[in-house]
């Protein structure tokens, strides 16, 4: 190991972890990046840390909890309770566990009748949802975030690197059959495709591919829409090419939850420009400023 690196000092494990999670300020991140480029010891340590974490995660996630309730039933129960919370007079009432504990029996009886009625309506509603969409997954269709099981993101090496080649995001090159397939797996009618952008979760400019696992219908009329996501993509591309973050970090950030990534990298709670199609006028006013 070069004496030079020793003199400058190695990066602590703590800083390596924070660096990977993009929690270091820009200057420190720069230093870590520069050091890692030269120091094999720290590079190897970082690799060990990440590998141990990922092995542990795999092992840990194998632990399942044997719940007596099926997920679909639990979901219906939750829908029913939300409906009850909403329609109750005076807005928000005390909720389920407190309902069980009600001392007043007549009250409890009334609450139970209402709950059952609402659960019935919720079931019909759920049924409707399912028949409309053909698939239970579609109960969360058309959200600004894709479903991780359908659209986890897909990447490939870009010849020449993303900074030189700067691949463009061009959904029009995606064959119609594949576009239709994306809408179908999200349980949506392709005739409404005009209200959505068929968007890449990981943009080609960050190494994302046209694979179906990297595509989802992103609604335009949402506060967090495709135009807002484009800003994040531009920023991440710049940050990667100026060496502020590495490509896997950018890919992970945008694939995990691009809205959170936007908030983090732009340090804001709301979309910065007036692209947002929020129905809240106040929101728009603040966002535009």
């Amino acid at each position: 190991m070069a004496d030079q690196t020793k003199e400058r000092g190695h990066i602590s494990d703590q800083d390596l972890l924070l660096f990977v999670d993009a929690e270091l300020d820009l200057e420190r991140a720069h230093n870590v990046e520069a050091h890692l480029a030269k120091c094999e010891v720290c590079g190897a340590r970082l690799q060990t840390l990440e590998q141990t974490l990922s092995e542990f995660s795999v092992a840990y996630r194998k632990n399942s909890v044997d719940s007596p309730t099926e997920e679909s039933l639990a979901r219906v129960r939750l829908l029913g309770q939300m409906a009850e919370t909403k329609v109750s007079p005076g807005g928000i009432r005390r909720w389920a566990p407190s309902v069980y504990a009600l001392a007043n029996r007549r009250w409890a009886f009334n609450a139970a009748v209402i709950a059952i009625a609402i659960l019935g309506v919720a079931l019909v509603y759920q049924q409707f949802w399912l028949t409309n969409s053909g698939d239970s997954i579609a109960s969360v269709q058309a959200a600004p975030l894709p479903l991780p099981n359908l659209t986890p993101g897909a990447v490939a090496d870009v010849p020449g690197g993303i900074c030189l080649a700067a691949p463009r995001e061009d959904a029009s090159r995606i064959p119609v059959a594949e576009r239709k397939e994306v809408f179908r797996e999200y349980g949506m009618d392709y005739r409404h495709a005009g209200q959505y952008e068929l968007d890449h979760l990981i943009t080609p400019a960050l190494g994302g591919t046209d694979d179906i696992h990297n595509l989802w219908p992103e609604p335009y009329n949402s506060q967090w829409n495709a135009h807002v996501k484009d800003q994040l993509e531009d920023l991440l591309h710049q940050m990667v090419c100026s060496g502020q973050i590495d490509l896997p970090t950018a890919q992970r950030a945008i694939a995990t939850n691009w809205i959170e990534a936007y908030k983090h990298y732009f340090n804001t709670e709301k979309p910065l420009a007036s692209y947002s199609a929020s129905d809240d006028e106040d929101d728009r006013a603040t966002a535009g400023s």
Partner: protein, 193 residues
């Protein structure tokens, strides 16, 4: 179009909320809650089980967590970091549950830290044994760690960012990375043996 109009009418009847002009594609609090529920029910059940909540009570607890999320969204409170928010509420409810139960039972029965492991019948038995031994080893190292360190590691394994973990457990970012570095060193040593 007719079906989406129907759906809207039903939703209006149910939730009393009109959709935006384009019809049925905006994110209602209900949808947001259900989307997060589908995504995080299992991780949250696993986390509360690790804090000593039985699967049965865990299910009730998770319902409570998502109902408070629903109220949170209805009141127009901040929508950022909802994943961390959910884990924090689950964490606090689990601790409350643990305290009341400890009080009710004169003797505290030690809770198995982790629920049953899923067995994949597809893998070949020998591979499974080797794989399982390694994973059991990692889990036994986990269970020997101080509780705070365990929680940090578990939350990271569920994919939370360090910032979110700090928020859930009421620690500083530095304390989270210290804790993880400690735990990773232990895991690594066990692995090397």
């Amino acid at each position: 179009m007719a079906s989406s109009a129907n759906e809207n009418a039903l939703r209006l009847a149910l939730f009393g909320r009109a959709e935006t002009a384009l019809g049925g594609v905006d994110l209602t609090p209900e949808r947001e809650v259900i989307a997060l529920f589908d995504q995080l029910r299992t991780p949250l059940l696993r986390y509360t089980a690790s804090l000593g909540v039985t699967a049965c009570d865990g299910e009730d607890l998770i319902q409570e967590v998502f109902l408070s999320l629903f109220r949170h969204l209805q009141l127009g409170k901040p929508r950022s970091h909802l994943r961390g928010w959910l884990f924090r509420v689950a964490h606090n409810l689990a601790l409350k549950y643990r305290n009341t139960r400890a009080k009710r039972q004169a003797v505290t029965v030690s809770e198995p830290g982790l629920a049953e492991r899923q067995i994949d019948p597809e893998t070949n038995p020998e591979e499974r044994v080797v794989e399982d031994q390694r994973q059991r080893l990692l889990m036994s190292v986990l269970e020997a760690l101080p509780e705070q360190d365990q929680n940090c590691l578990r939350l990271r394994a569920e994919g939370l960012r360090y910032r979110e973990i700090a928020d859930v457990l009421g620690m500083s970012l530095g304390a989270v990375s210290n804790s993880l570095v400690r735990s990773l060193a232990r895991l690594n040593r066990a692995d090397a043996r």
